[in-house]
């Protein structure tokens, strides 16, 4: 058993070594994919080691080097980071399996570059997860942006270039234009950028000053990866990427790195109490609430499945921002759980979208009517994932909504509860309608009104599913969505130290 202190540097280096191995094995795809899977398995084992250590109250960490006085590159595991790392590395393994099926079925070019970029991206995500200070977090945040750029522009055509330009433009502009000044400002005020329990700024700023609100705004919009409106446009534009990229990066690693950073900053830089006392987070709570509703409204009008899922992601991410901005313990708890639940659920949906594309080359929802009868497993998994996103038991997604409502009640923001309810209803409309139409309607005919299918249901003899490697991963994560519902209590207790309990 590796000591948790050693596991953190290893978790950072293993994917980079994997990247090297992938590069060296360029000529033999089977070995190359084996390298990815082995790297993924080792990484998952490492993050689980750290997770277990953190659950027993340890806080392993180390300092790599000090760049400028008071500005070290340092790492420390705490509950939120350990959770994020386990989710990211576990789902990377799942995605890798899925990618192999998807990329081979689609005969995609530049596969070596694809897997290499993925490996660098996961290393960066792990760096974000275990960063012990804002400076380290910022470094890996930028590495994550840059390493995913080749993935977004993978197809290399004009649409990919345009998407890539917006992706890089928005993420870099917000991070350098707002996030970096916010970090420097924090450093100038406190002489440090360390994540401190109870909040770094809580010890320094006169709690009445408007500076808290300004800084919080810089962080909230500077972390473009959290896709709080209006800095969300990169997310739908990143959908030009191959589906495994959308599934993993734009439902899990990249976006979760963003909301993770927001939660972490609220808890460890500001401190929940400071925000509660100053009320500085209330405007951003409303912006997040607006973002939830607005993005859902846009999602409803998208006929392209990936675009609809992208806007749904924008909406769901704002749940986490909302949880942070409620500045209550249960709000933060809900936000942290949403990181886990949404990752599983949304990843299922994206992988299903990819499977549909691989098997039938369909991207528009209106063309998917009746498709459930030949792809029952895919749409079955989609149905479970969608239920979780909506927040229906017995799916994992129901817990974050519960805790967020609890948090909103604690904060005395009853209107937020209404927002959450409306959002869930809208989610039913635009997500659950997809599998329902796929199962119960006839394929769209030219000009004809969509019809109910009547008696005919699944024709087991004429199934036309995607390759097994594309269909097993979403079924697996869909099962995970149900499992997480029942294992929420251990997660709750694991996260308790985050909000000062436990």
């Amino acid at each position: 058993m590796i000591s948790p202190g050693l596991a953190i540097p290893l978790a950072l280096w293993v994917p980079l070594l994997g990247c090297l191995a992938i590069w060296l094995l360029d000529k033999s795809p089977n070995l190359r994919e084996a390298a990815t899977l082995i790297t993924g398995a080792i990484l998952f084992a490492l993050t689980v080691t750290i997770f277990i250590a953190v659950s027993t109250g340890q806080r392993p960490g180390f300092q790599a080097l000090e760049v400028i006085d008071g500005l070290p590159i340092a790492f420390q595991a705490e509950p939120l980071g350990a959770l994020f790392a386990v989710i990211a590395s576990g789902l990377w393994l799942v995605t890798s399996v899925y990618s192999i099926g998807y990329m081979r079925a689609g005969n995609e070019k530049h596969q070596t570059r694809f897997y290499m970029s993925f490996a660098v991206a996961i290393s960066a995500a792990i760096g974000v997860a275990f960063a012990a200070n804002l400076f380290t977090l910022f470094i890996f945040y930028e590495v994550l942006t840059l390493s995913t750029f080749p993935l977004v522009t993978h197809k290399g055509d004009e649409a990919a270039r345009r998407g890539g330009r917006i992706y890089l433009g928005v993420l870099m502009a917000t991070s350098i234009g707002l996030f970096l000044p916010a970090i420097v400002w924090t450093y100038v005020i406190t002489g440090s950028t360390d994540f401190v329990e109870g909040g770094l700024l809580a010890q320094h700023v006169d709690a009445a000053g408007p500076i808290v609100g300004i800084l919080l705004g810089l962080y909230a919009f500077g972390i473009g990866k959290a896709a709080l409106m209006p800095v969300h446009p990169w997310l739908p534009n990143a959908m030009v990427a191959p589906t495994p990229v959308s599934a993993f990066l734009h439902a899990v690693a990249v976006v979760k790195a963003g909301v993770f950073a927001i939660l972490k900053i609220v808890v460890y830089i500001f401190g929940i109490d400071l925000l509660k006392d100053t009320g500085a987070s209330i405007p951003f709570m409303w912006i997040a609430a607006g973002s939830i509703l607005l993005a859902s409204a846009i999602a409803m009008n998208q006929d392209n499945l990936k675009a609809r899922l992208a806007y749904s992601t924008v909406s769901q991410l704002s749940y986490i921002t909302l949880g942070a901005m409620l500045a209550t313990q249960m709000g933060v708890m809900g936000g942290a759980m949403q990181i886990a639940a949404h990752a599983l659920g949304k990843m299922t949906l994206f992988m299903c979208a990819g499977a549909i594309y691989v098997a039938h080359h369909k991207t528009l929802i209106s063309e998917m009517r009746g498709l459930g009868r030949v792809m029952p497993f895919t749409f079955g998994a989609f149905f479970l994932g969608a239920m979780s996103i909506v927040g229906l038991p017995p799916m994992a997604g129901s817990w974050p909504k519960f805790f967020l409502m609890w948090g909103a009640a604690d904060a005395g923001q009853l209107a937020i509860i209404v927002v959450l309810i409306i959002s869930s209803i809208v989610n039913v409309v635009y997500l659950l309608s997809i599998p329902v139409q796929a199962f119960y309607m006839n394929p769209a005919q030219d000009g004809a009104k969509p019809q109910g299918a009547g008696g005919a249901f699944i024709d087991w003899g004429a199934l036309k599913e995607a390759p097994i490697l594309c269909i097993a991963p979403p079924i697996f994560t869909a099962a995970g969505v149900i499992a997480l519902f029942f294992f929420i209590d251990p997660l709750y207790r694991f996260l308790l130290p985050l909000v000062g309990g436990g």
Binding site: L65, V67, I68, L71, I73, F135, F138, I139, E142, L146, T153, G156, A160, R161, G164, R165, L168, G169, M172, A173, I176, G177, L178, L180, P181, V184, W185, Y187, V188
Partner: protein
């Protein structure tokens, strides 16, 4: 006498003596090897000086044993020791890099003259930096400028516009030098001395019209030399049409040395006892620095010639340096000095990458960069990494510069300046991104003049990657840049006398 005692004069003497010897060498490889050897020797001496100053404090060397203020004094403190190391270090890399590039871009009959002029230019820049005598600054400034005019004109083999660029620079540069020498003359009139330290003592309390006029002449004169916006008009053409190796060398050194001279005059000669120094900071350097940052960056965004784009970017980056020193705080001055060092590293590497592209395609138009990631991957990644450094991405020197500058801006209460700094970086992101996208995401042309491009030769790649590696190394280790710059800034502030 032992060598250690004479060390302070060697960085000037070595290239100065070596330059005419170059002319005696046969054409071909010899002049290049000789000049490279000399540049490495100069660099070694400079490093020795840095460590001496760092350990033992200020070195004062009396030329010909004539005691100052009558004799000429070479005075090396932390600030100019760093600039010396920078100039000779860039020299050592660029000289080694130059051979193949010069072979292609400069008339072979001129190659001995070329390396001779390069060494004279190095002499001048080292001299400006090392001397403690105001008039001596002028002399060396002219030595470096005159040789630079000649070097730029040698770009005429590739593009005849190099001749007009050199001539324009000559006119503007001479006006600058004249202003500068008039300013020195006025100070001499007022004080009867030319030694900088002595000038500082004797100027104390003399706030009269003559001193004010002298100050104004000096600022404008140096402003021209360092391409302070809007006195930068000579720079874009000069950098664009000069031979690529010359662009790399002067972009990384000449303007930096001029900024150093400005700092020296503001802080060591005048100091904050004079109200006009504070006014110059608030009403001249701060607004002009900000304006340069933005306007030049925006202009850079619309250039289709990559060398010209980098040239405008240099004008913008000089804005950062001016901004830093205009805060008149230790942090601001540190930021300025750090950026002098760091910008030299990034711009040197960028110009060298362009030189590699020119070597293989014969053009520095953005069209020539299409699809180079496939044809010249090593060069492409050098360009992209140094470009990221220019933008200020973490783990590069550009980030360190930005960090110091932003902390200085917040600490000085100029929080609006902090946001303008990052906004200007975003424009840098756009113009570097344009070229990077061209290199990474376009298909390489299958026909036409650029179709045959392949990777540049090792003799160019290795020196270029030395600078790229420096961009990364000093991006995570700041003992040699940040800490020393901070010590230099503290010493300068002490002489200048607190806040204005």
């Amino acid at each position: 006498m032992n060598l250690a005692a004479q060390l302070a004069v060697l960085p000037v003497i070595i290239p100065l003596v070596a330059a005419p010897i170059t002319l005696l060498l046969p054409q071909g490889r010899a002049p290049h090897l000789w000049a490279t050897l000399i540049s490495w020797l100069t660099f070694a001496v400079s490093i020795a000086l840095v460590s001496m100053v760092s350990n033992a404090g200020v070195i004062s060397y009396h030329l010909g044993d004539w005691a100052p203020p009558l004799g000429i004094e070479y005075r090396i403190d932390m600030a100019n020791a760093l600039v010396l190391a920078l100039v000779s270090g860039i020299g050592a890399v660029v000289f080694a890099f130059a051979y193949r590039s010069v072979e292609r871009e400069v008339d072979p009959r001129q190659s001995t003259f070329f390396y001779c002029a390069m060494l004279i230019c190095l002499t001048g820049l080292m001299g400006v930096t090392i001397t403690g005598d105001a008039f001596n600054v002028f002399v060396f400034l002219e030595i470096s400028s005159l040789s630079t005019y000649a070097l730029i004109a040698m770009g005429a083999k590739s593009d005849r516009r190099a001749l007009t660029a050199a001539f324009n620079y000559l006119v503007m540069g001479t006006i600058g030098a004249t202003f500068f020498v008039i300013g020195i003359g006025l100070l001499y009139q007022a004080t009867g001395t030319l030694n900088m330290a002595d000038l500082h003592d004797r100027l104390a309390g003399q706030s009269n019209r003559m001193v004010e006029a002298g100050f104004a002449f000096i600022v404008v004169g140096i402003g021209l030399k360092l391409a302070m916006f809007p006195l930068h008009l000579w720079l874009p053409n000069a950098y664009t049409y000069a031979p690529s190796a010359v662009s790399a060398f002067i972009a990384a050194t000449a303007t930096k040395v001029a900024v150093y001279v400005l700092i020296r005059f503001f802080y060591s000669v005048f100091g904050f006892d004079f109200a006009f120094v504070g006014h110059a900071f608030t009403y001249v350097l701060l607004p002009l620095g900000l304006a340069g940052m933005f306007i030049a960056s925006l202009v850079a965004l619309f250039q289709d010639d990559v060398k010209r784009m980098l040239a405008y970017s240099s004008v913008a980056q000089i804005g950062y340096m001016l901004l830093g020193l205009s805060f008149a705080t230790v942090e601001g001055l540190t930021a300025s000095l750090v950026h002098i060092l760091n910008h030299a590293l990034m711009k040197g590497a960028l110009f060298m990458a362009v030189a590699c592209v020119v070597f293989r395609t014969g053009s520095h138009s953005i069209q020539a960069f299409a699809g180079l990631a496939k044809r010249m991957p090593v060069t492409t990644w050098a360009f992209i990494l140094s470009g990221l450094s220019l933008i200020g991405v973490p783990l590069t020197v550009g980030f360190i510069s930005k960090w110091y500058l932003l902390t200085a801006a917040f600490a000085a209460g100029h929080w609006y300046a902090a946001f303008l700094i990052v906004a200007s970086s975003l424009i840098a992101m756009a113009y570097i991104g344009r070229v990077a996208e061209m290199m990474l995401l376009r298909e390489p042309p299958s026909e036409g003049p650029y179709a045959a491009a392949k990777e540049a030769p090792m003799s160019m790649l290795i020196p270029m990657w030395v600078l790229v590696a420096a961009n990364i190394y000093f991006g995570v280790r700041t003992e040699f840049t940040g800490d020393m710059a901070a010590r230099a800034a503290e010493a300068l502030m002490l002489v200048a006398g607190g806040a204005p």
